[in-house]
């Protein structure tokens, strides 16, 4: 591989690519290489690849990313006394929760329970009013730059550029996350195939059905191969077949040891996919456990009945 006519050592480069921006900056600091704050990860890797030797890269850079995440034993997400108020409404009320690395955690709750607000706090869109939220060891109020490098967010609404096609949308967000060109192309092709959008990938997104937009929404969230993915109702509006396909896709992420935080109104989705579920209502965590534990605890046939039993009062109130 060459960069500006200089031959690069590909193993150094790939080792550097395994690291996150904070780790890259640490190496630069040790080697007394000045890097502007605004530089993307790709640029930093390019610069370091020209200036460092194999010995400068910590051993963790040679291991697969997944192994590193699993081995350090720190929870992927920690919420401690988390509160978010909007004027006189408390959307998240004293939330305390830890989510392990590699866990698929579903956050369930009625409309307006505080699920999306929680995700917005964890992804740095909203600042908490009180309390602490730590994502992969980074405080959401202090280390947003680092957090954005390692998370992927699939928002509730299909936030895609309607006048770009699927491929362009995915590649645009992939490049913003600094995914190298060839890798980006390969990953885009894989995603399009896996979620059945390959044929329509050159059509502008404005002509897509709701389900197709949802799939694209999800692909954009995951194109950067994030360590932690927040999926906010990713299958809303999908037909049962597409939803099933998406479940398989989300399940495959779990196999890659990614931490996934899922919110959904399809309780069977949460039951099928989740390691643990948390049920929140009025911003408070009211139940936590594996689907099986909750079913046994409430002596019901399935998780949906647990959910109705716990949150039934809101349904009775017509909310």
């Amino acid at each position: 591989m060459t960069w500006r006519g200089i031959r690069l050592s590909s193993d150094i480069r790939s080792a550097l690519e395994q690291l996150d921006r904070r780790e890259l900056r640490e190496i630069a600091k040790q080697r007394k290489i000045s890097i502007p704050r605004s530089w993307s990860k790709t640029l930093i890797v390019e610069l370091l690849a020209l200036n460092v030797s194999r010995q400068d890269i910590p051993t963790l850079g040679t291991k697969p990313r997944e192994t590193r995440i699993k081995s350090n034993g720190v929870p992927a997400i920690i919420m401690k006394d988390l509160v978010k108020r909007f004027e006189d409404v408390t959307a998240v009320d004293d939330l305390n929760l830890e989510i392990e690395q590699g866990e698929l955690f579903s956050l369930l709750g009625p409309n307006g329970a505080g699920k999306t607000t929680t995700i917005n706090i964890l992804s740095g869109i909203l600042e908490p009013t009180e309390g602490t939220a730590i994502v992969a060891g980074f405080d959401v109020t202090k280390n947003l730059e680092e957090i954005r490098e390692i998370i992927g967010v699939c928002p509730q609404e299909a936030a895609v550029f309607k006048f770009l096609n699927a491929r362009e949308n995915i590649e645009l967000f992939g490049s913003l996350h600094g995914v190298p060109g060839k890798e980006l192309e390969e990953r885009t092709n894989t995603f399009l195939e896996l979620l059945g959008l390959a044929e329509a990938s050159r059509r502008m997104a404005k002509g897509y059905s709701g389900g197709m937009l949802r799939k694209l929404n999800l692909m954009i969230a995951l194109i950067s191969d994030p360590q932690i993915a927040f999926l906010d109702e990713p299958t809303v509006g999908m037909d049962p077949r597409a939803r099933r396909k998406t479940w398989e896709f989300i399940g495959s992420l779990k196999d890659q040891n990614k931490t996934i935080i899922l919110t959904t109104h399809y309780i069977e989705e949460a039951e099928a996919l989740s390691d643990r579920v948390g049920i929140i209502d009025y911003g408070r965590l009211i139940e936590l456990g594996t689907p099986q534990e909750l079913v046994e605890k409430y002596e019901t046939k399935n998780l949906e009945q647990v959910f109705l039993k716990i949150t039934g009062r809101r349904i009775l109130e017509g909310i």
Binding site: S38, G124, A159, F161, K162, F163, E168, F173, G178
Partner: protein, 234 residues
């Protein structure tokens, strides 16, 4: 990619490239008449200003639409900094302004426009107009900040478009209205373009105009970015 997004939207394509083209043809036929005391050479600088003023509407619509569709929020979650995002928007709209000048010029040339400055004037007009487009970007951002929807953005953008249109394009102004026009950034671009096309670009007034355009446009775009970043991005 930013340019692709803009060009692929029929409304934006019309507003950015076809609208200046239609305006050029219509206004040259309507106003470039000795009976009205105007020639094609006096109309074209105003047409260029007119076209660039409409960037206010394009950018206001574009930002408010992306905000409404959750795209700005999504972009904020990426590692891209807000200055990188704003930089890409500014460069895109400066390029559009340059394209607009080229469209107006080409058509005006076909309709008989022959500036005294020759081709050099055209090359000088491009960067001057690009700098002025910063003010339109800034005013577009201010419009997007105060508009809740893209529809509202379209309407509110006329608060900034109309005064500049009446006091700083090809519409004749009196000595009284000129006092008002001096508060419009477009007035200085019009004045500079007239001198450039007359081949009088070494005139100290051209440099004075350029200074005013640069300072005012920079100030407006900075205000626009700060306001949008603080109050308009959510």
């Amino acid at each position: 990619m930013e340019l692709k997004k803009l060009i692929r939207q029929p409304a934006n394509l019309f507003l950015n490239l076809l609208f200046p083209a239609v305006l050029t043809i219509v206004f040259v036929f309507a106003f470039a008449d000795p009976e009205l005391g105007m020639s094609i050479n006096s109309v074209v600088p105003g047409l260029i200003v007119y076209a660039v003023i409409f960037v206010i509407m394009t950018i206001a619509q574009s930002f408010s639409t992306e905000r409404q569709e959750g795209l700005l929020k999504r972009l904020r979650i990426t590692p891209m900094t807000s200055s990188e995002f704003m930089g890409s928007q500014i460069i895109t709209h400066m390029l559009i302004a340059v394209l607009q000048v080229i469209v107006v010029f080409t058509l005006a040339f076909l309709l008989g426009f022959r500036p005294d400055s020759g081709i050099q004037g055209i090359f000088l007009a491009l960067p001057v107009t690009a700098i002025f487009s910063l003010s339109s970007v800034g005013l577009g951002l201010i419009t997007a900040t105060v508009s809740k929807t893209p529809e509202a953005a379209t309407g509110i953008s006329f608060v900034f478009i109309l005064p500049q249109m009446f006091f700083g394009t090809f519409i004749p102004i009196t000595s009284t209205t000129e006092q008002i026009a001096r508060f419009m950034p477009s007035y200085y671009l019009l004045d500079a373009l007239k001198m450039i096309f007359e081949g009088d670009w070494m005139n100290p007034n051209t440099f004075l105009d350029l200074g005013v355009i640069s300072m005012v446009s920079t100030a407006i775009v900075v205000i626009g970015i700060v306001l949008f970043d603080k109050y308009g991005s959510e």
